[in-house]
């Protein structure tokens, strides 16, 4: 999925129902996902 969206997996977290997914996780068509960017531009 991330490849189709041209998103670098190392740059995001993928969350389904408040659970983190590893990149090998299978997805269903009806899954609602949050793709959360993790790289910040400012200081911590």
């Amino acid at each position: 999925m991330l490849e189709e969206l041209r998103i670098v997996p190392e740059a995001v977290l993928v969350i389904r129902n408040s659970t983190l997914l590893t990149r090998d996780e299978r997805l269903d068509e009806n899954d609602e996902l949050e793709v959360r960017p993790v790289l910040s531009g400012g200081a911590p």
């Binding site: 983190l20 993790v38 790289l39 400012g42 200081a43 911590p44």
Partner: protein, 330 residues
């Protein structure tokens, strides 16, 4: 994917370690990594008073959480930069976290301390917002640590932050900056004997071995509510572009970031180490911070010079030319 430790279902994968972790063992892994980093670089002692700079973001809140879990006396310091709703939300989340943990938090406001916000400072001086922001945060963090008697100032800079900074410094051959890039910056003392006076508090970055994706995962798994949206003033920020480039390299070659940063520390950092023999360092006549002496000029540090300019222009009702717009990627 299975957890490396218990073989349960893994929720986080760390490719450079060739490992997946369940929630419990991931948190344990991060705690252990931070504890080892503190020990390896002799960052601070168990009974040192730590002042941790917290912004409401994932890195600083995750670090505060880890330090408290490891048993350190870690007090938070939040500086309200006056960046509209972004600052309001980040302050609310920081205060909420402190209250939930029963942790002590010091809150100060740039507007109240010095009479301007970060956006105002940019308009008044022409400094790019991130530059003015960094200058003010470094000054205020150090001032708070000195005033409140903390031995060490701790920041949430992670592996991605450090390697992106290193990358930028190499790209532009900022050799003086390369000489000051390290997981620990020693305290700076002026004077000797009974007149010795700490002017810069020791600074440490315990998250330097933790990638940004891992601090985000940690915060999520620990239920730490942090500011997810980006600061509205970082658009076009070069640090972010460097991070994106390095992350693409990391994706195809796991371990790149770690190798670059820690390889630099091990094999090249001492070649750029700055010494006071290179320039004459004196105390700023306004605030006492270390600054460089210039022939014929009264020494003032960058912060005091910038503040004086902003204050004068605010009083005059003048502003600087707008900062040069960053070119955006097409």
């Amino acid at each position: 994917m299975k957890c490396k430790v218990c073989r349960d279902h893994a929720v986080v994968d760390i490719r450079r370690h060739n490992a997946g972790f369940c929630s419990t063992h991931f948190i344990e892994h991060i705690d252990n990594q931070v504890a080892k980093t503190i020990k390896e670089f002799k960052m601070f002692e168990p009974d040192d008073r730590l002042l941790i700079a917290v912004s409401g973001g994932k890195d600083s809140l995750a670090l505060w959480d880890i330090l408290l879990d490891l048993g350190y006396d870690a007090v938070g310091f939040y500086l309200d930069l006056g960046i509209g709703g972004y600052s309001t939300r980040s302050k609310e989340l920081t205060i909420a976290y402190a209250e939930a943990r029963g942790a002590k938090l010091i809150v100060r406001s740039l507007q109240q301390e010095h009479g301007f916000t970060v956006p105002e400072l940019s308009r008044l001086t022409g400094r790019v917002p991130c530059s003015g922001c960094g200058l003010n945060k470094r000054y205020e963090f150090n001032r708070a640590a000195l005033e409140e008697g903390f031995q060490v100032l701790v920041t949430g800079h992670n592996l991605d932050d450090e390697v992106a900074t290193l990358f930028g410094n190499i790209l532009h051959w900022n050799t003086s900056m390369l000489g000051r890039q390290a997981p620990v910056l020693e305290e700076r003392i002026f004077g000797e004997g009974s007149e010795a006076n700490t002017v810069l508090v020791r600074k440490a970055k315990p998250l330097v071995k933790i990638a940004e994706r891992e601090t985000a995962a940690y915060a999520l798994l620990k239920g730490i509510d942090y500011v997810v949206e980006e600061c509205p003033m970082v658009e076009g920020n070069t640090q972010h572009r460097y991070k994106e480039a390095l992350t693409m390299l990391e994706e195809t070659s796991p371990g790149t970031k770690h190798q670059m940063y820690f390889g630099f520390l091990k094999k090249a950092a001492d070649r750029f180490a700055a010494t006071d023999e290179d320039v004459e360092v004196v105390a700023c006549i306004e605030c006492g911070s270390p600054t460089v002496a210039w022939d014929g000029a009264e020494p003032r540090c960058s912060f005091c010079k910038t503040k004086a300019l902003a204050t004068r222009r605010k009083a005059d009702g003048t502003t600087a030319r707008p900062p040069r717009k960053r070119r955006h990627r097409t």
